[in-house]
Subunit: 586 residues, 2 copies
C-alpha cells in the first residue's frame, strides 16, 4: 500500500486559492444547535419490493425520514439535539474517486470539532482495504490544509469498493469495535451505499454500537432517486466534459471532420438500426454541405444493443464452460456466429476477453465508438457506391473522455455540496441514526434555501427480477440501490428531444469554456438539476400539511356537510392510491 | 464549402464575458502615430545557407529588421509614418486552427479603422481555397462581435494550408490583383509562413503591389526562432493540456494505475532501449510501492525511433513500387522483417497504411502510446517470470490529447498576443514592407514592456541537406521556415533534466486546474517563455549601442593609447567572429 497518504501536497497558485475557499452552511446547519424532525416511516419505491427488502433488512427497514431544521424553527414534534458528547468517527472512500470527495471529510471534521473539540475523526487509508486492515490516519486541520476543495481521493486513497463477503463484513465489524467507533461514514456511489446499508443491518443485528452513514459521492450521476437530487462530482464532470466536448465541436466546426465521442443517452436500437441512424445523420448534414459533426455516445451503449449483448452472453457462457478462446467462434449459435463474423477483428478480440466477476465491468473494454465509426464508414461507402450518398468520403476520429475529468478540481457546487453533506453526517450520528444516507434537497435554489436531511438507504432500494436459464424460472436479486437510468419521461429528456433536430442539423456549438470559480458560469448548475422537479421531500411535507389541515378543519362539531365532503374526498383519494400502488399487504 | 461563416454565434455566459474583454496595446502602438526604426540588413541563421536563400529570394532577401517605437521616442534614424491612406487588406487562416487566431483579425481590423475609417478588411472564406476562389467576407464590428477572444477559426474557416503549386500561386496573385489588395495577411505556422515568403517574392518579382505579411499562429509551438518567442495558441494549449494531464495524474495517484499519454520530449533511443527505460521506471517506482504513474510521450515520437523509421521507409518504398499490402512483409529486408514480426498486429496494420504525399503526416496514424504500452507490458511480464520484477501486474491506459485542446477558449496571453500581432500587421503594411512576419518580443515581461517589430521571413529560413539514394549524393532542400525542435542546450530542457529524478520518483502532481481568465494562474506564462533568454532583438540593439559608444569615445583627437586599445579590442572581436561563422563570402 502506498504510504504518502495525508502528506502536504505542493499546490499550484489556483489550487492554493481554492484551498482558501470556505463553503457556507445552509441556515439549518448554522450554529451549534440543530433540530431534527422525523417524517413518517419509509417504505420502498416500488411497493412490490417492500416485502423482500424488509425481510433482508429486519433491523433497519422502515425507519422514518429525518429533516434537520433550525433550532428556532417552529416545528411541533422536532427534537433539539442538546448533548454533544465526545465521539469517534471513521471515514472511508469507496469506489472510483470523484471530485469533491475530500470536502465530505472536511465538513465532517469541522462539524465534529465545533460540537465537541475532543471528538476524533479517523480516515481509513486505501479505502475498504484500509478499513479491514485498520490502517487509519487521524484527520487534523494540518492534514486537511492542502486537500480542501481539491480533486482526487489522495488524502486517504481508495481501493476497489467491496465490503461484501462475510470475511470482509467481519473485518469491518472488528475494525469498528477495536477502534471504538461511534460512527462509520462510507463515501461512494450506488454499490458502496448498498454495502453501507448491509453493514448497518449487520451492526444493528449484532448490537455493534457503530452507526453507519452513507454519502452520495460518484461521478456517474446514477445515485439519484426521490431522496437524492444529484451526487457529489457530477456537476464537475458535466462541466469538464462540456468543455472538452465543446472544444472538439469547435475544432470539428473549423476542421470539417466527423468526430465520434461519448455521451449519456439512452437507446435500445439494434446495431444495424443505430448505424443506419448515424449514417442518415451524416447524410442529412452532407446534403447541407456540412461535412463535420460530433456524435456523443454513452460508455455503456454496447450493453443497450440487444444482439451484441446476447452475443456476449453466449461467449461468456462458453468461456465459463472452459472453451478456449480460439474455439469460441465455431461453437456459437448460427445467428451469433453471423454477427461475430460481421464485426471487425479488433472488436472480436475485445468480445473474447474473459469477463470479470461482474459482466458489466468487462463491457467498458469494448470500444463502442470505434465499432460504430467502422460500421458507419462501411455503410457510407456502400451508399456512395449505390449512388444514394453523393457527398465526401466519411472519416471519423474517436475520443474517449473519462480519466481526464475524474481528477479535476471540483466545481464550486461540488465543493459546497460535499462540505454540507459531511456536516450532515455529524448530525445523523449525533441523532443516533443507523443505515441512513445524508441528503440535501432543493439544490436548484441558492445554498441558503437548501434543505438538509437523512433518508434510510433501504428506502432507495429496489429488487431486480431475472429470467433464469429454464423456462418460466424467475429469480429474485438481492435488494440494492441500483444505478438510476435516464428518465425517458423526465423533463430533461423531453427538452433534449425537443431540440434534437436543431442539435442534429444546426451548429449550435456554445462552448461553456474551462471550469471557472468566479464570474459567469461559476454558479451554473446542471440542466437536469434545475429543470427536473425533484423536490420529493418538499412534496411529502406539503402532503402532510394538507392532511393536518383536513384534520384541523374537520373535527367534532363541524357541520354534517363538511364531514360528508371530507369523507367523500378522502375515500376517492384512498381508492385512487390503492389502484395505483396495487397495495400488496405483508 | 460551408456557408455559415461570419454569422453571429450563440455564446455561453463565459464566452459572452470573454467577448467583452479588450486587450491592451503596448506603449509603442498606442495612439495613431508610430515610428519605425530599421536595423541592419538581415542574413540567415546559418551563414552557410545564406547563398542558397538569397538565390531563391532575390527580391526579398536581406531586408532589415524593423522596430516600431513611440513617436516620442528619441531614436535618431526612426521614421514617423505620417500618411495613412485608405487601404484594402485581405486576411486568410492557413493550416490547423489555433486558439487566438480570431484576435489577429480583430487587432488588424481595429488598427485599420483607427488610422483610416475608409480602409477595408476582407476575410477569405475557407482558408487558401477561399483565396484562390476569391470568396471573401468584409470584416465589420458586427461580424467580429461574437468572435472576439473566442477559439476556433469558424468566423472565416480554413482548409489545408497549401499555396504551393504554380497554379495556386497564380490564383493567389490573380485574387490580390482582382481585389486590389494593398496587403495580404497570412495567419499560420511554419509551412504557411514559408508560403507567405514565397508569395511575397513572386509578388515583388511580377511587381504586384500587394505586400504579404505572415503572422505566427500555430498550436505546435514550433514556429520559434531568434525573432519569434512563441506562437499564438501555444500558451492556451499548454494550459489546457496541463489541466488534462494533471487530472490524469490526480486520477492515477488515487487509482494506482500506470497511464500512458503524450508529451513534448526528445529522444533518439531504439525501441528496445526506450521500452527498457520505461520498464526501469515502472520497476523503480514499484520498489517504492508506487503502482501508479504517468508517462508523457510526444506525438511524433515514432519518427525519432531510428529502426521504426527505417522500417517505415522500406514499407513506403515497396508500396511506391506497387507491391500489394499482403505481399509487403515477405519482401522486407531480414532485419526489417524481424522487427515487423515482433510488433503487435494493430501496429503492423497501421505501418502498412499508404503514406500521404508527405511521409510525416501519415505517422500520426500510428498509435505510439499503444505500441509502447504493449511492449512495456510484455517486458514486465518477462521480468516477472525471470524473477527480476516482483511487483504487481503492469497495466496501462492510453490517452491521446490533441483535439480537446485545439478548440479551447484562448488564454488571456494568447488573446493579447494575437490582438497585438494583428495591430502590428497594419503598421508593417503602412510602412510598405513585403515578406515580413509580425513579431513581439520581451514577452516574459508584462504587456507594457512588450517590443513590437517585424522580421523578414527569409531571415528565419534554413536549408536542409539530404543524403540521396546513391552513395555520396547530397541533395539540397528548398529554403523554408522549419519547425523548431526542443533545444537540448536550452535552459528549459536543463531544468527538466535537473528535475528528472524527482519527476520520476516523487508524486509532485501540482494541478494548474482549468484555464482561468482572472485571479491566480490567469497571468501565468509558459516556463519556456520565461526562462529561455530569448531577447535576441534586444541584444542586437545592445550591440549596436556598444558600437556607437566606441565610435563616440574614439574619434579624431583621442589619445594614442585609447586608439590602440580600441583597435586591439575590435581586431580580437573580428577574428573571433570570423572563426565562429567561417565567413563564406558571396
Amino acid at each position: 500500500m502506498y504510504s504518502d497518504f495525508g502528506i502536504p501536497r505542493e499546490l499550484s497558485d489556483l489550487q492554493k486559492r481554492r484551498s482558501q475557499y470556505q463553503p457556507e452552511l445552509p441556515p439549518c446547519l448554522q450554529g451549534t444547535t440543530v433540530c431534527v424532525e422525523f417524517g413518517d416511516a419509509t417504505t420502498a419505491t416500488d411497493s412490490s419490493d417492500a416485502h423482500t427488502i424488509s425481510r433482508s433488512f429486519p433491523h433497519s427497514y422502515g425507519q422514518p425520514l429525518a429533516h434537520f431544521v433550525r433550532a428556532t424553527a417552529k416545528v411541533p414534534d422536532a427534537q433539539i439535539i442538546i448533548e454533544h458528547p465526545e465521539i469517534r468517527v471513521g471515514a472511508v472512500f469507496c469506489g472510483r474517486q470523484s471530485p469533491g470527495g475530500h470536502n465530505v471529510i472536511w465538513g465532517l471534521h469541522n462539524a465534529l470539532r465545533i460540537h465537541n473539540p475532543n471528538s476524533t475523526l479517523l480516515g481509513f487509508l486505501g479505502g475498504s482495504e484500509g478499513l479491514f486492515a485498520q490502517k487509519t490516519l487521524e484527520v487534523t486541520d494540518d492534514i486537511l490544509a492542502t486537500y480542501k476543495n481539491q480533486g482526487g481521493y489522495d488524502m486517504l486513497g481508495r481501493t476497489k469498493d467491496q465490503i461484501r463477503t462475510a470475511e470482509q463484513v467481519n473485518a469491518a465489524l472488528t475494525a469498528c469495535r477495536d477502534l471504538k467507533l461511534d460512527g462509520l461514514v462510507i463515501i461512494g456511489g450506488v454499490t458502496s451505499n448498498t454495502y453501507a446499508a448491509q453493514l448497518a443491518e449487520t451492526f444493528a443485528k449484532v448490537k455493534c454500537p457503530t452507526k453507519v452513514v452513507g454519502v452520495p459521492v460518484s461521478l456517474n450521476g446514477d445515485l439519484k432517486n426521490q431522496f437524492v437530487e444529484t451526487n457529489v462530482g457530477f456537476d464537475t464532470v458535466c462541466k469538464v466534459n462540456s468543455q472538452l466536448i465543446s472544444n472538439v465541436c469547435t475544432d470539428a466546426f473549423s476542421a470539417e471532420k466527423v468526430i465520434l465521442g461519448e455521451e449519456v443517452a439512452a437507446s435500445k436500437l439494434s446495431l444495424f438500426e443505430l448505424t443506419k441512424q448515424l449514417c442518415d445523420a451524416v447524410q442529412a448534414r452532407a446534403e447541407q454541405d456540412k461535412y463535420h459533426g460530433v456524435f456523443l455516445l454513452p460508455e455503456g451503449l454496447i450493453e443497450s444493443i440487444p444482439e451484441v449483448y446476447a452475443l456476449l452472453q453466449e461467449i461468456h457462457g462458453l468461456l465459463r464452460q472452459g472453451v478456449a478462446v480460439d474455439g469460441i467462434s465455431s461453437q456459437l449459435s448460427p445467428w451469433a456466429s453471423a454477427l461475430f463474423d460481421f464485426l471487425p477483428p479488433f472488436i472480436r478480440k475485445q468480445l473474447l476477453l474473459h469477463p470479470e466477476s461482474d459482466d458489466s465491468a468487462q463491457l467498458s473494454q469494448i470500444e463502442t465508438e470505434r465499432l460504430l465509426a467502422h460500421l458507419v464508414e462501411k455503410e457510407m461507402i456502400k451508399r456512395f457506391k449505390e449512388g444514394t450518398y453523393k457527398g465526401k468520403k466519411f472519416s471519423a476520429v474517436c475520443h474517449f473522455f473519462g480519466y481526464q475529468t475524474r481528477g479535476s478540481l471540483p466545481s464550486k457546487f461540488d465543493c459546497d455540496y460535499a462540505y454540507v453533506l459531511g456536516y450532515i453526517c455529524y448530525h445523523i450520528l449525533a441523532t443516533g441514526l443507523n443505515g441512513y444516507m445524508a441528503t440535501v434537497t432543493n439544490m436548484k435554489n441558492p445554498l441558503n434555501k437548501w434543505r438538509c436531511g437523512a433518508a434510510p438507504i433501504t428506502a432507495m432500494m429496489t429488487v431486480k427480477h431475472y429470467y433464469g436459464h429454464g423456462p418460466g424460472v424467475l429469480s429474485v436479486g438481492k435488494p440494492a440501490v441500483h444505478p438510476a437510468t435516464v428518465d425517458l419521461k423526465g423533463k430533461a429528456y423531453k427538452q433534449l428531444r425537443q431540440n434534437a433536430t436543431n442539435f442534429l442539423m444546426d451548429d449550435v456549438y456554445r462552448n461553456p469554456g474551462p471550469l471557472q470559480f468566479d464570474g459567469p458560469g461559476a454558479e451554473a448548475k446542471a440542466v437536469t438539476l434545475c429543470i427536473e422537479d425533484q423536490d420529493y421531500m418538499g412534496r411529502i411535507k406539503a402532503l402532510q400539511e394538507y392532511l393536518d389541515k383536513v384534520r384541523t378543519m374537520v373535527k367534532l362539531g363541524c357541520s354534517e356537510d363538511v364531514l360528508k365532503a371530507a369523507l367523500s374526498a378522502m375515500a376517492a383519494a384512498t381508492n385512487i392510491l390503492s389502484t395505483m400502488t396495487e397495495n400488496t399487504p405483508y
